[in-house]
Symmetry: C3
Subunit: 237 residues, 3 copies
């Protein structure tokens, strides 16, 4: 696996060669207007976009957006954590497919392992009350059906992955909500959007996440998510 | 990005080398029988197939089916519009992934930009009554939740993309229904299948769309769509 | 299409170069712990994993897992049938995308066509009673809506594909359930999980399928499937 094997995004000239309209929508609409809206920072837009691209395994665009993320305040360590987080939330194959594009970016910028979160860092403190509540709910539902899923949800996810300090809880939730939207896992947006907002994502930012991600997931995925988002917003007022 | 980077579909010999059965189902079943059914034109089958392949980002097969589409009456301009349309309905990454295969086909056939719809053509006339009804519904549902989504649904989709003359409204709806089926966005099939039939897709054609696309989306996606299709058909009799 | 065109999985060093944590979760968690659990054989875990990778069209990992499957008791003929089966259950493009990686493995191991199931073998005997029940249900639901789908569901799937002797009915159902989970086609898990258990998949094995596949589909897909699994288990006690 060498850098040259990482496929690259089409250039604007290449896009124009198959669709002048798509080139226009990209430059004037998506880049010129949507990315410039003040409701969500460019950094957060990069996180949302990267999460959508990993969730959809769209490797062709990943290198360009990993670069853009680094240029806009996302750290190499945060990108490393985002890919790792999405192994659990979108599948191992999605995370492993992102390794080549991300390694190409890290190699080109001289990012070495010292800049990345350790395999086993000191974890953030656990919110025992809420975690106990979550675990009790999931155990009540599925202990008999799939004890292995219940066990690893606790051991690997909520008492390990979610407590890794390399990505702020608010950003981890932002990644999760973005991935759930991109994969139309609508039911689970309730829990994770609430968690995102508990951890500091404002309502205005949350709203704009869905405006932004519509372009990367397609409109239907967002139209499927909005009724759930509406309920979450209503439940918090 | 050169033509040689576009991966190509496996040959029949290559398919046979891993599964003589898959080769038989392809030649006798899919190509020999399904594609030959009179209920839907070969041109429409090409549009449905291309939409499914872009919706699923299956770039390996796209070049072959773009070629097949051009050989069966789909114009370069229509292919250009289909890819652009699907940027909004399946995500930017899906459209951009289709650029390389489509450019390879256009380059090989000498299709240049003069043959493609302009970036900003004169738009088709707007059906103000129906568009006003649609906009009111969506605003009522989501104006508070995601004003950005509501705005761009109107500005970019229904007052721009859908009015581009390079793809007939009936074909644009056919592309949309195919993409919704391929991505199991079942709830939105109601609106778009009705729109397709309002714009001239017959019930027999609509029915055959789901027969055809089952082979490209897999059976489960179609079995999930059929209850909604049944309701649409029932509501129109 | 040559073997050298088949992209390969990232090495553990390459994974570590972008995320020491992902490397640790892979070696200690997924490989060291989950794959070693006694509730499901390594052979079955390979079948589940291969089905998930084909269902998600994750070609980068397919070669490695086809190899692992052959090393753990899955025969070349069974892999051939799994890919063919998934053409119908996840779409032709998914099966055709698996041709290159599988052919690379077969070429490297000298597997030729004599080792593969014939295109038209003598089929397993049909369970007329159950098939008649299934056909009557589907006809009642969709005969008017999509007669073509109804016809091919019978002709290609239940009176042909499902009766091919190259993959045991229990394994064919295991592949189907895995693919349905990977594509979040939750409603259809009821029929196929029951069929899998009728054909010999134990409850303990079924439960562990969902523990295992969570790592390859991501947690949300499994959390969406578990309520249906719970109902199936409850209905059989």
């Amino acid at each position: 696996m060498s850098t040259s094997n990482v496929s690259s995004a089409p250039s604007m000239d290449e896009i124009r060669a198959v669709s002048p309209a798509l080139a226009r929508y990209t430059t004037e609409g998506l880049v010129g207007e949507v990315w410039a809206r003040p409701e969500l920072s460019t950094r957060d837009r990069c996180i949302v976009t990267v999460a959508a691209l990993v969730a959809k395994a769209q490797t062709t665009l990943q290198r360009a957006y990993f670069e853009k993320a680094l240029d806009n305040g996302v750290t190499p360590g945060e990108l490393s954590e985002i890919v790792t987080h999405l192994a659990f939330y979108t599948g191992w194959g999605n995370a492993l497919a992102a390794v080549a594009p991300l390694k190409a970016v890290f190699d080109a910028r001289g990012v070495d392992q010292d800049a990345l979160p350790a395999a086993s860092p000191t974890l953030l403190p656990l919110d025992e009350v809420n975690e106990s509540k979550r675990a009790t709910t999931v155990q009540g539902l599925f202990r008999e059906v799939a004890p292995g899923v219940v066990k690893y949800t606790t051991d690997f996810l909520f008492r390990d992955l979610w407590l890794r300090p390399g990505l702020a809880p608010r950003d981890r939730s932002l990644v999760t909500v973005s991935a759930l939207t991109a994969t139309t896992q609508v039911a689970q947006i309730t829990f994770h959007l609430n968690r995102a907002m508990d951890n500091g994502l404002t309502k205005a930012e949350a709203s704009e996440v869905f405006t932004h991600i519509a372009f990367y997931t397609g409109w239907p995925a967002v139209m499927s998510a909005l009724p759930v988002v509406k309920d979450v917003f209503a439940s918090r007022t």
